[in-house]
C-alpha cells in the first residue's frame, strides 16, 4: 500500500517567552496509519497537539493537512474551532474533558453540532419542529448509537457522562471525537489510567477505527504496550527536539531513544547489546 501523507509538520517551533517547548520538529503522519508521538515527560508532546488543534499558534513552522477528498488546510493559519469544523481534526484531552453534566448520548449529539445546526436552518426549522430537522436529529442519534455500540456504552446512554467510570469516560471521549467525522484523530494519552484489560480493548478500538473509517490517528502515549502494538510509525521527542522517527522496531532499537529513556550519559556506559546501532534508526 502506498503511503499518502495526511499531515505534514515542517519545522514546527513553539516558544513560550524564553522557553522553547518544541524545537524544529518535522514529521509526517500518513492516511490509514497510527502515528505515535512518544517522549519523556516535558518533551513537548502535548504542545505539538495544541499547535495542531489550534489551541496554540506556533512560533515557526508549517502544518499541512491533506485529506483524501477536498482541499488541504494550513492548520497554523486556521482559527481554533475551524480546525475541527472544516479541516476535520478531532482530539481528546490528557485530562478528560467531557460535558460531565450532560448525558452520554448528549455528548455525542453535541459533537455533531455543525451538521445539525445546518439541518435546523440555524434553529428556525428546529424551533417549529419541521420534518427535515427531525430526520437529521434521528440520523445524529443513529451515528451516536453506532459509536455507543463500538465503545460498549449503549446501556449507559442516558447516564450523566460524569458518573461513568474512568475507563468508560476515556472511551466516550474517543467516541465523541469520532462523531465529528474527522479525517485525523488526535488522542492525548488515551491509555492513561486504564487497567491492562481496558488497555487491550483500546487497542482493538483504535485498530477498528483505522480499518473501518480510513482515517489517520495521531497518538501521544506513555504506555509502550499500546504504542508498540498498534502504531505503524513512531516519532520520538526529547526536550522539544525530534530524537527519532521510524517504525516501532526501528525506534525501539535506536540508541538515542534508549539513552533518552534510560538516562545513560554516554554510549560507552550502555550495555553492549543495546549500544549496537540499529540500521536506519535515525533520519
Amino acid at each position: 500500500m502506498s503511503r499518502a501523507p495526511l499531515l505534514t509538520v515542517e519545522h514546527l517551533t513553539m516558544r513560550f517567552g524564553g522557553l522553547t517547548a518544541v524545537n524544529d520538529l518535522s514529521f509526517t503522519a500518513y492516511r490509514n496509519e497510527i502515528t505515535a508521538i512518544i517522549g519523556p515527560n516535558g518533551a513537548g508532546k502535548t504542545t505539538v497537539f495544541n499547535c495542531l488543534t489550534g489551541f496554540y499558534k506556533p512560533s515557526v513552522g508549517r502544518l499541512t493537512l491533506t485529506p483524501a477528498h477536498g482541499k488541504s488546510f494550513l492548520l497554523e493559519r486556521t482559527e481554533g474551532f475551524r480546525i475541527a469544523k472544516d479541516a476535520r481534526v478531532a482530539r481528546t484531552f490528557q485530562n478528560i474533558r467531557l460535558f460531565s453534566g450532560m448525558s452520554v448520548l448528549e455528548n455525542l449529539v453535541v459533537a455533531q453540532h455543525n451538521a445539525l445546526m445546518k439541518a435546523s436552518a440555524y434553529s428556525l426549522a428546529g424551533l417549529f419542529g419541521l420534518p427535515g430537522y427531525r430526520k437529521a436529529e434521528r440520523q445524529a442519534v443513529e451515528i451516536a448509537r453506532y459509536w455507543l455500540d463500538k465503545v460498549g456504552l449503549t446501556a449507559h446512554a442516558d447516564w450523566s457522562a460524569g458518573n461513568l467510570p474512568y475507563g468508560s469516560q476515556r472511551r466516550l471521549e474517543i467516541a465523541r471525537a469520532m462523531c465529528t467525522q474527522p479525517v485525523l484523530l488526535c488522542l492525548d494519552e488515551p491509555a492513561a489510567g486504564l487497567n491492562p484489560k481496558e488497555s487491550l480493548e483500546l487497542n482493538t478500538l483504535l485498530r477498528d477505527i483505522r480499518k473501518e473509517h480510513g482515517i489517520g490517528i495521531l497518538l501521544i502515549e506513555h504506555d509502550m504496550s499500546v504504542v508498540m502494538q498498534i502504531s505503524d510509525h513512531v516519532v520520538v521527542l526529547d526536550h522539544g527536539a525530534p530524537l527519532s522517527d521510524g517504525s516501532p522496531e526501528q525506534v525501539r532499537n535506536d540508541p538515542a531513544v534508549i539513552r533518552a529513556y534510560l538516562g545513560a550519559a554516554d554510549d560507552e556506559d550502555l550495555p553492549p547489546e543495546i549500544a549496537v546501532p540499529a540500521a536506519g534508526g535515525t533520519h
Binding site: G101, S103, E106, V110, A111, L127, D158
Partner: protein, 444 residues
C-alpha cells in the same frame, strides 16, 4: 437517645455517625459563640433618661440566645444523624442506580407544571381574587419571565450576568420613547423593543467574549450601571431622573380600556357591551404577561432540545472541549446573550405599559440581583424551580408587606436555609434533552 451504633453501620457510611458526646460538645461551642456574639448586641442597652444616658445590662437575654443556639444545633445534629442512619440501611446498589442513571422523566414535575398553568389561567376569576391579587400576580409573572430569560444566559449557557436589568431597561425605554416620539402602539413596539434589547445584548457580548466567571460578572455589572447612568443623565432624550410619564397604556387589539370612547374608537367595554370596570385593564395586563411568560418558557423548553441549546449547555460545561468539536464559541455566546436580552426587552416594554411611568429608579442593581437570585435559587436551568423561587423571593415579600420590619430578616433567613439544604437550588436535577429510547428505531 443512645450513642449511635457507629460500629454497626457499614464502614462506608461511618462518617455520618458522630457520637453523642461529640454533638453535645459541638453544640456547647456553638452556644458559647452565640452568647459571645450576643453579649455586645443584646447584653448592653443604652437608656436615655432624664438623668442622661446610662447603660443597662440584660444578661438573661444573652443566656437565652446561647441556650437557643445550643438547642438548635443539638437538634440539627441529632436529626442529621437519624437521617444518615436511615440512608445507610438502604441497599447501596439501589442508591447508586438512583444517582447515576436517572430513569424515565419524572411525571410529577410535568403535572405540577400543568397545574400551575391551569391555576394561572383561572386566577382572575377565582372567588377570592381581587384587583390587588391580580396586580401582585402580574408583578410576580414579570419576575418569572425575567427569571426564565436570564436562565438562558446563566442557567443554560453558564455566563454569569449581573447586569440583566439593563436589557429590561432598554426594553422599557424603547417602548416609552418609541410611543412618545413616533406614536407607535404597544404591539408594534413589543418586537422592536425585543430587537433593540437583543442588539444591546450583542453589543455587551462582544467585549466580554474572553471573560468567564467572576470577571464576566463584574463587566456585566458595570454595563448595567452604565445604562442606568446614561438614562439618568441624558435629560433631553430620556427625561433623566424625572423619567417618562403618561406612557400609552395597552389596548385590546385597538380597543382602549377607557370609560368613554376616544377619537371615535369604541372602548373595550362598549365594544363587548360590558359595564366599564377598571379591573378589565388589570386582568388584560395579567393575561398579557402570562402569555409572554409562557412564550418564554415554551421557547426555552424547545431551544434546549435544539443544537444551539445543547451547544449552550456544552459551553457551560467546557468551552475548550466545545472548540475541539468545532463549535464556534463566539457565535454561541453571542446568541445566548442576545436571546436572553430579547426576553428582558419584551418584559421591559410590558413593564412600561403596565406602569405608565418609568424612571431609572426601577432599574437599579438590586433588580439584577433579585433576578439572578431567582435563577440560582430555582436551580440553574430548572423552569419550575424558577417559578417557585420567584414566588419565594418576590411573591412572599409582597404579600407580607405588613410585616415590614421582618421582611428582610425572613428574606435573608430563607436564603441561608436554601443555601444550606439545597446548595444547587430548589430543583436542581437535570433532565437530558434526548434519550436513546426517544428516537424510534423503526422510523426509516
Amino acid at each position: 437517645m443512645t450513642t449511635p451504633p457507629a460500629a454497626a453501620a457499614p464502614a462506608l457510611h461511618h462518617h455520618h455517625h458522630v457520637s453523642l458526646s461529640h454533638m453535645v460538645k459541638d453544640s456547647i461551642a456553638a452556644g458559647l459563640l452565640a452568647a459571645l456574639l450576643a453579649l455586645p448586641l443584646l447584653g448592653f442597652h443604652l437608656l436615655d433618661s432624664a438623668q442622661g444616658l446610662h447603660l443597662d445590662t440584660r444578661f438573661p437575654l444573652v443566656l437565652w440566645a446561647g441556650l437557643i443556639v445550643f438547642g438548635g444545633r443539638l437538634g440539627l445534629s441529632l436529626a442529621g444523624a437519624a437521617i444518615a442512619r436511615r440512608m445507610s440501611h438502604q441497599p447501596a446498589t439501589a442508591a447508586e442506580n438512583v444517582s447515576a442513571a436517572p430513569a424515565k422523566p419524572k411525571p410529577i414535575r410535568k403535572i405540577a407544571g400543568w397545574i400551575m398553568v391551569a391555576v394561572a389561567l383561572v386566577l382572575p376569576f377565582l372567588p377570592f381574587s381581587d384587583r390587588n391579587l391580580v396586580d401582585k400576580a402580574t408583578l410576580l409573572l414579570i419576575y418569572v419571565m425575567l427569571g426564565w430569560g436570564l436562565n438562558i444566559v446563566v442557567g443554560l449557557a453558564g455566563l454569569l450576568d449581573l447586569g440583566y436589568v439593563a436589557f429590561y431597561a432598554v426594553g422599557a425605554y424603547s417602548y416609552a420613547l418609541l410611543s412618545q416620539y413616533f406614536g407607535l402602539n404597544f404591539w408594534v413596539c413589543l418586537p422592536l423593543a425585543g430587537l433593540l434589547s437583543a442588539s444591546f445584548g450583542m453589543a455587551l457580548g462582544f467585549p466580554v467574549l474572553r471573560l468567564r466567571g467572576d470577571y464576566l460578572a463584574i463587566v456585566t455589572l458595570g454595563f448595567g450601571e452604565i445604562i442606568r447612568v446614561i438614562l439618568l443623565n441624558w435629560q433631553d432624550f430620556t427625561g433623566g431622573p424625572n423619567g417618562i410619564a403618561s406612557i400609552k397604556r395597552p389596548s385590546f387589539f385597538g380597543l382602549p380600556f377607557t370609560a368613554v370612547s376616544m377619537d371615535g374608537q369604541p372602548s373595550f367595554a362598549q365594544f363587548f357591551g360590558l359595564d366599564f370596570s377598571p379591573d378589565h385593564r388589570i386582568i388584560f395586563l395579567y393575561y398579557l404577561i402570562l402569555v409572554l411568560a409562557l412564550a418564554t418558557n415554551l421557547f426555552t423548553l424547545r431551544i434546549r432540545k435544539l443544537p444551539i441549546g445543547r451547544a449552550w449547555e456544552a459551553l457551560r460545561e467546557d468551552e475548550t472541549a466545545c472548540r475541539s468539536l468545532g463549535i464556534n464559541p463566539t457565535k454561541t455566546k453571542l446568541s445566548a446573550f442576545a436571546i436572553g436580552a430579547m426576553f428582558a426587552g419584551f418584559a421591559g416594554s410590558f413593564f412600561a405599559t403596565r406602569q405608565g411611568f418609568i424612571s431609572p429608579e426601577s432599574f437599579t442593581f438590586i433588580e439584577s440581583a433579585i433576578i439572578l437570585a431567582i435563577v440560582v435559587l430555582g436551580g440553574m436551568g430548572s423552569q419550575i424551580g424558577i417559578v417557585l423561587a420567584a414566588i419565594l423571593l418576590v411573591g412572599l415579600p409582597e404579600w407580607f408587606r405588613d410585616l415590614q420590619l421582618y421582611r428582610m430578616l425572613a428574606f435573608g433567613g430563607a436564603m441561608v436555609l436554601i443555601m444550606l439544604w439545597r446548595p444547587r437550588g430548589l430543583l436542581s436535577s437535570r433532565e437530558p434533552t434526548i434519550r436513546l429510547g426517544d428516537a424510534p428505531e423503526a422510523a426509516e
